[in-house]
Symmetry: C2
């Protein structure tokens, strides 16, 4: 049976127990710093939880769990360089603490290390695990590219946005679930079901992230509120408002307003369209879809409760 | 039997026949541009040549050959961003033609594509091929890191330099040979022998590259001569001269000379130490070591002649 606290402990132990060579220090110390970020460790947790729920031996899944977390932290490291983000989780990013060259090279090393960790699975699943890992990684880059492309466009649709976050965020959660299922020796149908769970969980997760950026409590969420609005980031909220406010939002965005006033006026448009409630409703729908996706999979009721609880808590999370 | 021209044709066909998705164009067009560089294609050629010489079916080695070329071109793409190099082989580099963000993300995609291509080998050799590929990739990053570290140091020894170029350049040639041998179903001893061939070929290749930067014919070599001297790059020539010229070279480098005068004075020190001849002698030694490494491997005399000829021609190359 999945013990939530024990699982978190195992993941923490896997990550902290992962050792890199001493030299060259300029290459490996930034990798350690990037891994030591105190994140949610959601992806390795999912990988191990699915493996365990499907009767697998999680000892055989430890390296893959580390690999998926390594990959995730690699994407954050390179994304921060590309976005010129100075801080992450209250600490300077790698390219600020060191420099761009270090961030690029250490990130490259993390990507290779992730692929290498992924090979440490039983022979019987080596090829399908790598196929899923490589395919997922390509989709993540495609998502990142679309996200950047959207910055230059004013006609992005909600469907395009959902497709983009599916690629950029959801497939990695889905891939983690799928790889956990493969290592457990699950059949294709169960692995696919957990993949769908991960996709929908990821969509709910990302929409909640967008919602929190506008409606979260800054002291709990851990960052300033309204950043997406100030950056005119094409989130579900902004895209929906652009399409439904009959030009009102375009007018506000075109003005040269102070940040606080801009945020106030944009939120007032959101409010007139009831977008906060509608966003949370949509998040709830994706969480339900996630739960439904695994309805046909035979797992212990207590383990099912774990996955239901995870979907519900991530959908309603405040941080 | 290895037909040199046919092999080059096959490699050209593999690279030009490699197709990427249409969308997102911002991600995939720069990858195509980076691949379409008109390089020597030395690594895929070696991979296929070794596979064929050892009796393998090179049809089974096509994807791995493409993978090793993809990986090599990925390293050039990210190195050019890190070195702020504007041109490569007479064309603007990716970060100049597009921008840094594109160069980083497209490079990441190339690294994943390389790993993915590497999985397209027979099941029996999947794990050892990936182990060699991942280990080699890590060594290449370590070499790049040491190369950058050396820029900040004045006490780099010739031994340290040789270790660095072994990592940065040689192991990828060696890995290409080794993977070609694995796909041919060779035994460990033969694969190791070809690995050693590749290592020594790579050392000869890189030393000749350094020599050409100082003594080449700019019209044949394709770039301006003396760039390494102007950049105070710690090559075998500079390191040897720093250690043997009793402070004379340090004095010249500390002066604020015009480039042409700097190059003239440094070359005069090199000349007094007979470094050009000694460098070429060393290159010849590594070429001989490469040839000796495969002396015990049973291959057709005509195929052995191919590898001997390759080592000799790369050692004496003018471009």
């Amino acid at each position: 049976m999945i013990d939530k606290d024990k699982l978190a402990e195992t993941v923490a132990e896997i990550v902290s127990g992962y050792k890199l060579p001493e030299q060259p220090a300029g290459l490996y110390r930034p990798v350690e710093y990037a891994l030591d970020c105190g994140g949610k460790r959601l992806r390795p947790m999912l990988l191990l939880a699915v493996c365990q729920a499907l009767g697998g031996n999680i000892e055989k899944a430890r390296s893959a769990a580390m690999g998926i977390e390594m990959y995730h932290n690699f994407t954050l490291l390179h994304d921060d360089v590309m976005d010129r983000a100075d801080m992450r989780r209250g600490r300077p990013t790698v390219h600020v603490k060191w420099n761009d060259v270090t961030a690029i090279l250490s990130g490259d090393a993390m990507l290779t290390l992730a692929g290498s960790l992924m090979t440490e699975v039983p022979d019987a699943v080596l090829r399908p695990v790598l196929d899923m890992f490589n395919r997922t990684a390509m989709e993540v880059y495609e998502g990142q590219q679309y996200d950047m492309d959207f910055e230059q466009r004013s006609d992005v649709t909600v469907e395009e946005y959902m497709h983009m976050i599916r690629l950029k965020t959801s497939v990695l959660l889905a891939g983690a679930c799928y790889i956990g299922a493969l290592i457990a020796g699950a059949d294709e149908a169960d692995a696919r079901a957990f993949y769908e769970y991960g996709v929908n969980l990821g969509l709910a997760f990302q929409l909640r992230d967008d919602w929190l950026d506008t409606y979260g409590n800054p002291e709990v969420f851990g960052k300033a509120i309204g950043g997406d609005i100030v950056n005119r980031k094409k989130t579900w909220l902004l895209i929906s408002a652009l399409r439904e406010s009959r030009g009102e939002l375009d007018g506000i965005l075109a003005e040269d307003l102070e940040n606080d006033e801009l945020i106030r006026q944009v939120k007032s448009v959101y409010s007139s369209l009831r977008l906060s409630d509608r966003c949370n409703h949509l998040i709830g729908e994706y969480a339900s879809k996630a739960i439904s996706a695994i309805a046909g999979v035979k797992i212990a009721p207590a383990d099912r409760a774990y996955f239901i609880n995870l979907a519900e808590s991530l959908s309603g999370r405040d941080k």
